[in-house]
């Protein structure tokens, strides 16, 4: 078995799909903080719309550069999070890529819909930098 750090380095190729610039800003801050304090080597891609995410996923499939994880927002105009999830399901990449839904809507219906579409888990968007840091460390399996 490989050492955990090597495994972590291999796993942490992450695509963040979110049209909300505030949340992206917050996530970048949290990741920066995380990289300061822990040995995390992240290959981060920020995708600002659902339709761009579809293109990225198709390109990843073609070039064999699919991310290990996708952090996916649901509420986006045009192609939304559920559409992206559906695309992942159709392309049969859900066993290779963990899709984690991070959304404001925490109601049971949304959660059920996301899980039914193949999301690994559904998280509620955090209320502070601290919470964001904790959420990302948990999702990236750091520490």
């Amino acid at each position: 078995m490989l050492p955990k750090s090597r495994e972590a380095m291999y796993q942490n190729r992450v695509m963040v799909v979110d049209d909300d610039e505030d949340d992206i800003y917050l996530m970048k801050k949290a990741l920066a903080r995380l990289q300061e304090s822990a040995r995390v080597n992240l290959d981060l891609t920020f995708v600002l719309s659902g339709s761009d995410a579809l293109g990225e996923i198709d390109r990843g499939l073609q070039d064999n550069t699919l991310p290990d994880k996708i952090f996916l927002d649901l509420n986006m105009p045009g192609v939304n999070g559920l559409d992206v999830l559906h695309h992942c399901m159709v392309q049969e990449i859900l066993d290779k890529v963990d899709v984690v839904v991070i959304t404001t809507a925490s109601d049971p219906d949304t959660r059920r819909a996301a899980l039914a579409s193949g999301a690994r888990s559904v998280c509620v968007k955090p209320n502070s930098l601290q919470e964001m840091s904790e959420l990302i460390s948990r999702l990236l399996d750091v520490n």
Binding site: N75, P77, G78, L82, K125, P126, N127, L129
Partner: protein
């Protein structure tokens, strides 16, 4: 005694009446025929009366009829005796017959005296006719009353049925209102959560930036805090506006509709540019008396929807044009969006109607409800035509009376 009676009835010692008339044939004949005819008549009248009484068993005061019959018969007998005494002087028998007749006459007088008040109480045919007419009237009035009662009953029944229907309608209306309120609360809380969460995030970031002395981050946090609090405030006031819209009194101010639309369009400049869309406004020289707030609401919501509801990968193409029509000025807002199934045409202006899932686009379902209320408030009309996956055209009709230019 028997000697006295024999003596009383003997007729040898008197002269017959004929003698008094010196046996003048004509006089005697007149008396004789008259007496005979009176006798026969006085016998026949009681017989007729007897027949009548026998034929009318229901007749009241039968006794007095009998008495009258006896009285008349007795009178007849005196005439028979008079006839006989023309030749035979049986004055004893005549006296006896007269005495009997007198007794019967007196009895009849008494009985008649007693019977008259009773007879007077008997209704006359005229009275009976009158009574009959009254009775007919009464029966008629009764049946009228009856008919009235039946009609009233029917009315009451119909009234109660209407009331029941009304209550049912009220109940389902209440249920709809409840359901609307429930969704309203859900949407309001969900959409309001977004800016509030960010306020919390940026307050946190601001604190950290200040600790680190990072002025750039601090500035951004303050700016975002301001934006988010404005958004939250706008949303709350939008919701309040919607809920208060039913009581809102629209103003009538001369406004340039084209300018108002262009002003609204500025709000969408960014979004349109990002989605490679176009918005063409071909509305010139259209001034009308209207409520500026409501006009803004109408175009903001319709254009907002046109941008939001486009098929994936298609840039929104929106056109606003006008046309004159008899009695109205029309404004058409056409898009190339996803449209909707025409069967929902009547539903889309109801509050909280969402025809597309959140997988199509996020929306509160309030937008077109606000449009409908705004249109209604100003006395305009709105219609919608749609072809699924091709586009939608909303047509606003402003009454000619409101048009200034």
């Amino acid at each position: 005694m028997s000697g006295y009676l024999e003596n009383f009835f003997e007729a040898q010692s008197f002269l017959a009446h004929g003698y008094c008339m010196t046996w003048r044939g004509d006089l005697i004949a007149l008396h004789a025929v008259s007496d005979a005819l009176i006798f026969v008549s006085y016998v026949l009248i009681p017989l007729a009366m007897l027949y009548f009484v026998l034929q009318r068993p229901d007749l009241a005061h039968k006794g007095i009829f009998g008495l009258f019959a006896a009285f008349i018969l007795a009178c007849g007998t005196t005439h028979l005796i008079s006839l006989i005494t023309l030749w035979e002087p049986i004055y004893g028998l005549e006296g006896l017959v007269k005495a009997i007749t007198a007794a019967i006459s007196m009895a009849t007088v008494v009985a008649t005296g007693l019977a008259i008040p009773k007879a007077l109480r008997l209704p006359s045919p005229a009275m009976l006719r009158e009574a009959n007419l009254q009775l007919v009237d009464e029966v008629e009035s009764h049946s009228r009353t009856n008919r009235d009662l039946i009609r009233l009953q029917d009315q009451l029944r119909e009234h109660m049925r209407a009331r029941a229907r009304e209550m049912e309608a009220k109940a389902s209306e209440l249920e709809r209102a409840n359901e609307s309120l429930r969704r309203f609360a859900h949407i309001a809380s969900h959409d309001l959560q977004e800016p509030l969460r960010k306020i919390s995030v940026y307050a946190d970031l601001l604190e950290e930036a200040q600790e680190k002395g990072d002025t750039e981050d601090a500035e951004r946090a303050v700016q975002r805090l301001r934006t988010m609090s404005t958004r939250a405030r706008t949303m709350v006031s939008d919701l309040l506006r919607f809920s208060k819209m039913s009581q809102y009194e629209p103003a009538r101010i001369p406004i340039d509709i084209g300018a108002a639309i262009r002003e609204v369009a500025e709000l969408f400049e960014h979004t349109l540019a990002a989605s490679d869309g176009t918005l063409e406004i071909d509305v010139d020289d259209l001034k009308a008396e209207a409520d500026p707030l409501l006009v803004r609401q109408i175009f903001q919501n319709i254009i907002g929807n046109a941008i939001k509801y486009v098929p994936k990968g298609r840039g929104p193409r929106i056109r606003v044009t006008t046309r004159r029509e008899h009695n109205h000025r029309l404004i058409m807002i056409s898009d190339n969006g996803i449209g909707f199934a025409p069967e929902f045409k009547s539903k889309i202006f109801e509050p909280f109607t969402r025809l597309h899932g959140r997988d199509v686009a996020d929306g509160s379902g309030i937008g077109l409800a606000i449009v409908a209320r705004a249109v209604q408030g100003m006395g305009w009309r709105i219609d919608v035509d749609t072809v699924p996956d091709k586009g939608t055209t909303f047509t606003l009709a402003i009454p000619q009376g409101d048009i200034l230019v």
